[in-house]
Amino acid sequence: MPTVSMTVNGKAVASDVEGRTLLVDFLRENLRLTGTHVGCDTLQCGACVVHVNGDSVKACSMLALSAEGAEITTIEGIANPDGSLSVLQRAFQDHHGLQCGFCTPGMVMSAADLLKRNANPSEREVREWLEGNLCRCTGYHNIVKAILAAAAEMRGEKIAAE
């Protein structure tokens, strides 16, 4: 069985994996980072989005071995260094951008990538960016609101939570 090594949430990790092991299964089963979820088997739902070398990637769409040497960030690794919620995470809570929580890690990781690329997205741009993330609970309304509010706060503007 080949060995794969990578950096996950700032920590170097190495493990033997089967060649067919997906990155998402490596994270969940080998590293027990179960915040990254599996909601489908056709690369559609986006519950497994993580960052690979800074870009959002569906972790079910690549093999663990393909991530050799990569820098991976998962939902477990994006809070502030002191453990408090990041601006984006807090915006999801403030604006009720989650209900059952299952799609949430993928939504947050996907949105974080959007805000890195576009500090001032329009509502339409947020909605289109989330095309690859399915949510069945929120109707997206408050997810979009949370992301726009986080963007504003990160730009130094303040939007009051209702």
């Binding site: 909601g39 209900q99 059952c100 289109e128 095309e131 997206y140």
Partner: protein, 799 residues
Amino acid sequence: MPRDEAVASGGIGKAVKRREDVRFLTGKGTYTDDMNRPDQTYCVFLRSNVAHGQITRVDTAAASAMPGVVRIFTGEDIAAAGLGGVPCGWEITSSNGEKMKEPAHPILAQGKVRHVGDPIAAVVAESREAAKDAAEAIGLEIEEMGAVVNMTTAIQGHGAPVHDEAEDNLCYDWDLGDKDATDAAFANATHVTTLEFVNNRMIPNAMEPRAAIGEYDAARDQHTLYTTSQNPHVIRLLMGAFVLNIPEHKLRVMAPDVGGGFGSKIFHYAEEAFVTWASKEIGRPIKWTAERSESFVTDAHGRDHVTKAELAMDSEGKFLALRADTLANMGAYLSTFAPCVPTWLHGTLLAGQYAHPAVHCRVRAVFTNTVPVDAYRGAGRPEATYLLERLINKAAQEIGLDQVEIRRRNFIRPDQFPYDTPVALQYDTGNYLATLARALEMADYAGFNARKAESAARGKLRGIGLSCYIEACGIAPSSLVGALGARAGLYEAASVRVNPTGSVSVFTGSHSHGQGHETTFAQVVADRLGIPYESIEIVHGDTDRVPFGMGTYGSRSLAVGGTAIVNAVDKVIAKGKKIAAHLMEASEADVVFEDGQYKVAGTDKAKAFGEVSLAAYVPHQYPIEDIEPGLEETAFYDPKNFTFPAGSYLCEVEVDPDTGKIEVLGFWAADDFGNVVNPMIVEGQVHGGLVQGLGQAFIENCVYDENGQLPSGSYMDYAMPRAGDFPSFEVDTCVTACTHNPLGVKGCGEAGAIGAPPALVNAVVDALSAYGVDHIDMPLSPQKVWATIQAAKPAMAAE
């Protein structure tokens, strides 16, 4: 803490941020598949890839010898063990007095397969991959029989029936209402509007696929099942008593964090029974997690009605009677609550918000070679609302009345409550004119014609659609549902444990899988006790910890589960008064509880809630002769009636006549949920329901082909609503408090999914009315809309 401060920190009416969010936002949620048990094995099911057939060979020899395989089970093992089938929890009696047909639903197929996805064998192995490899290596031969798919032909009894005991594939033929009065009203009507339509089949698609881990502790003879359930006690009861013959004290069912349900996780499923049983057989824990493609062919589907509806009116557009005849798909087996969905959750809602003198409804339930169909967000009530609200708009169109005006003329007026409908319900309260007025105001209904003209100038067709729904929630009075065929009571239970230093642990039979009970219920308790929200913990989802409860569905958690909590809190307060009276050397009759303090009326004597709690657990100065120590109370609450949330929804669309593409421009929802505990959470529930409802009307569709194959069996083929499909919504609430529960609440979980589909379809039909279009079946795909326009054009040209 003074009551005002307690309320400020998290009492009723506050948009308190959800406490459960932190774990979900940091990846620390614990969903069933996130758990692994020591020495765990993995299970994969071999499922039928044909819809109907006789199994002629299942050869597991080669597969069993593959690396990592622990054991392979087939239907023979299940039969040899004498296990029961998956039971049905509701019995419907046909109009002729016969009981419904209730065929066996085996855990693993016994000879025949009856839908694509029917489980045939279960492979247990050291890893999921090894189990999958072995499942593929099982030699399987099935002699195909013709599939029964179409309900209309199914009841004609051609070909091999789904079950031998139902030759015409009929499960039951049920009716409700006064047929003679209805027929007489139709005979005297000035105008009769008729609508034939399909309520399209839905696949629930909670984002977390179902999963189950079975574990057996031989030393203690104790079974544990971790499962993705909305109601762990119901699973324990059904599975223990009817399938596996395990007494309840030897069976613990836990539903930890659950990633959405929408009805699909109410039901008892074969997989959870299998892993519970087989974990004892092999002496190791067994975990099964559905792949999404497996969810599509095993989670109970929703809706799937074919209906003819008729509305009789007088010359003023007043309703005289309603008649409905529905074929309802049951699928291949009866899922847990399936029989009651098109009957008692559908026929009873056909009066809607209107003063119909007479209603008659007939429902025939049909077996087909498809996945079982059961409750899906709204469950019967969306079908009833769609029937009525589409029919009314068609009637308005036919007699030339505005869609608002025809409803106003027929609404039950506020002074008519309590109102007895002709279909067995008594609405306790409501104000339909108020929600309608609020929706019209939010949507600027009066300004619609100007907006329509603006669209027309751009070559676009604009339409606005109204839908006024009612639902029966807070399910349900046990004696009533028992008379209607339920094989269970539908009360709820709660225990309130005041800890010695005054914090409170609440154990509820309701289950949260997105609804935010951990927050909302704590708000209710904080408000009632006048203590800080932060000192209250809500515990749910574990049959070993919470009292016997019926779980969460039918928007019942706050109305029924919340009331159980309130009643238990009130028992705590009552006992606390006795203790406080002793401590303050006062008469119990003089002690009042307010602002978190026991006070002697008319004096400045007071004892804080925490002081009395401590005294109950350190009973040194205590009326020990009269009162037991401790402060913990349990209440079971059986509701007196259903609750009746209602509202008015408006949807505005623009249709491109060249392409048939629809754009939803706005959606306005005015709901009456009774009192609101957490407005932020209520709005979130509405948003989510709206997109599920709009999804059904707009893009979602479960499609079976004539062979019973499921082409819409993945997210590439089943159109899930995405963030870009709809705009943001405007939602608001009007309040008439429920009259028969102490919180005055009605429930909000299903409203959006109930009210949205007819609003969207009414809007599109309104947009196309210039073409003479008076109906299009859901979903309103661009192709279907375009074809409808093309078909209408020649007729228009000829005029």
